[in-house]
């Protein structure tokens, strides 16, 4: 069982959430080339290690949030406050 740390509701079972997948910066749709746009749509980093990802708290606060999880061990680490530098090597 995976306990997902919602910033509002605290740790809850993964089945309370919808998984949003890898968090990537969305290119500007008016400026991106079709190639860039499709790479944003389809390509994945898929690391076996720390991954920045999005979850939706479906049965709780109904908010989206990003966290970092290690996809090899499934441990979470607290996501830094927006604007601060990531600690450690991602």
């Amino acid at each position: 069982m995976l306990l997902v740390p919602c910033p509002n509701c605290g740790p809850r079972n993964a089945s309370d959430f919808a998984y949003g997948g890898e968090s990537h910066v969305r290119p500007n749709p008016n400026q991106a080339t079709p190639e860039e746009w499709r790479s944003y749509l389809y390509m994945e980093d898929n690391p076996a290690g720390w991954l920045k990802e999005t979850w939706y708290c479906r049965s709780g606060c109904r908010r989206f949030f990003t966290v970092e999880r290690n996809t090899a061990t499934n441990e979470f680490r607290e996501h830094p406050i927006p604007g601060t530098k990531l600690g450690g090597k991602a």
């Binding site: 993964a14 089945s15 998984y19 890898e22 749509l41 994945e44 898929n46 990802e53 090899a72 061990t73």
Partner: protein, 441 residues
């Protein structure tokens, strides 16, 4: 390149009842069926991943094209990935014409496999039934049936009374919580012993001179002259580069051609060459019950209930579902899976409520956005992929091996796998198979 064409079609020796008796009477051990030889410094082709895809590619390179200076490398043992963990379902009733043609070729190779490899692969053509519980599911079944019929595939939509006749244990009454409205029935579908397929290809390839190296992990791919990878712009990897070999835990190997057949680990390998893939890794779980008398003659799939079931020759029920809901490389089973599975199976077959689960397990699946694979050349010269097999790659093993071998030998993309090229994700020409592959693997 010095890949000499030439045909060699000799098969490995046959197993016989007489041999069994003689060996038993003399208390002899069975010899190992593939050699354990030292790793060489160079090969014509290096295949990463000793699952059904890697082994089939190696086998057909040798059998169809006479290319035998080939090494298959696996970081663990042959069949340790999805190839030894799947629920062994084969079928060709897909949704797109490209998919149907491709999987149908695989089924015909499976049909002659026992004779081709001189090994009983226990192919059981028991029929495959995909239930529809909603009008929209029924519509998809009709759509699939029409696409299938146009390509001469035995596939049709049947009504609940016919479903009941084929599988009397199913609750086909109209007061079920999710009443069965009909089903897509595909008689040529069935199951096949997955381990035997892995061993059969390994044995066949070995017999033709291919080397299998277990516990040989690829740590890096050696590429020269590329525009740089995402993490290092000066490492010479990525588009425009040329493969020169691989680095393993047992030393460097030089090879002009490296084929990535690592399924759930596919992006880790392609990252080593500087090639990005549209793949995320998800576990798929399965479970098996204690054995009981045979009562379920066909494979039954329910997309709406996220479950499928078949009964083995030994009498166990084998269950599967859809992939776990988040990316991970961990293959730990979960209680949610078992609970949901049991609930849904009992909706379909209330009669088996007293049966006990023996065990459950998981394997890694390399999911693509359109539920179709990624096959053939990449922007790095000499680095080929046969990945993106998701939850449906076992049945595709033979045709993938055959086509990838042709791709390597001729240096051209065969027609059958042309739709599955990596570049479809930059042009937008996706091959959407979700409607036929999301639950029924």
């Amino acid at each position: 390149m010095s890949l000499l064409p030439g045909k060699k079609s000799s098969k490995p020796p046959r197993y016989s009842a007489a041999g069994l008796i003689v060996k038993g009477a003399r208390k002899q051990n069975w010899p190992r069926v593939w050699r354990d030889v030292p790793l060489k410094k160079s090969y014509d082709v290096v295949i990463i991943g000793g699952g059904v895809h890697g082994l089939a590619t190696a086998y057909y390179l040798a059998a169809n094209h006479g290319i035998t200076n080939v090494a298959v490398l696996d970081k663990a043992y042959l069949g340790s990935g999805g190839s030894g963990r799947n629920t062994a379902i084969v079928r060709s009733n897909y949704l797109t014409p490209e998919g149907v043609a491709f999987y149908d070729r695989s089924l015909s190779l499976y049909n002659t496999m026992a004779a081709d490899l001189n090994l009983n692969v226990m192919f059981s053509e028991r029929g495959h039934m995909t239930l529809a519980h909603t009008d929209s599911a029924l519509r998809t079944m009709n759509w699939r049936a029409e696409v299938n019929k146009l390509q001469d595939i035995d596939s049709s939509v049947i009504d609940p009374s016919e479903v009941k006749k084929l599988a009397p244990s199913l609750d086909t009454s109209s007061n079920a919580r999710y009443p069965i409205l009909g089903a897509l029935y595909h008689p040529p579908g069935g199951t096949i012993r997955h381990d035997a397929v892995v061993w059969g290809y390994a044995r066949g390839a070995d017999h033709l001179g291919v080397e299998m190296h277990q516990k040989t992990e690829v740590l890096d791919i050696l590429v020269e002259g590329g525009e740089g990878s995402a993490t290092d712009a000066h490492d010479g990897k990525g588009a425009g580069g040329k493969v020169t070999g691989v680095r393993t835990n047992k030393g460097d190997i030089s090879a002009p051609i490296v084929v990535n057949c690592t399924a759930g680990w596919a992006t880790l390998i392609s990252d080593m060459a500087g090639v990005k893939l549209p793949i995320s890794t998800r576990p798929l779980q399965a479970a098996v019950t204690e054995p009981v008398k045979v009562f379920l003659p066909t494979v039954v799939v329910s997309g709406s209930l996220h479950v499928y079931v078949s009964q083995t020759d030994r009498g166990e029920l084998v269950f599967g579902a859809s992939v776990d809901p988040f990316n991970t490389y961990s293959v730990r089973g979960s209680l949610e899976f078992t609970e949901e599975l049991a609930g849904h199976v009992l909706e379909l077959m209330p009669g088996i409520s007293k049966m006990r689960l023996l065990r459950q397990w998981a394997g890694l699946c390399d999911m693509t956005p359109d539920y179709s694979p990624v096959m053939g050349f990449t922007p790095v010269d000499g680095f080929l992929c046969d990945v993106g097999w998701g939850t449906y790659g076992f049945k595709a093993g033979p045709v993938s091996g055959e086509q990838m071998a042709e791709c390597v030998a001729t240096q051209m993309t065969p027609k059958l796998i042309e739709p599955f090229r990596l570049s479809r994700f930059s042009t937008g020409a996706l091959v959407g198979e979700k409607g036929a592959a999301a639950v029924g693997h």
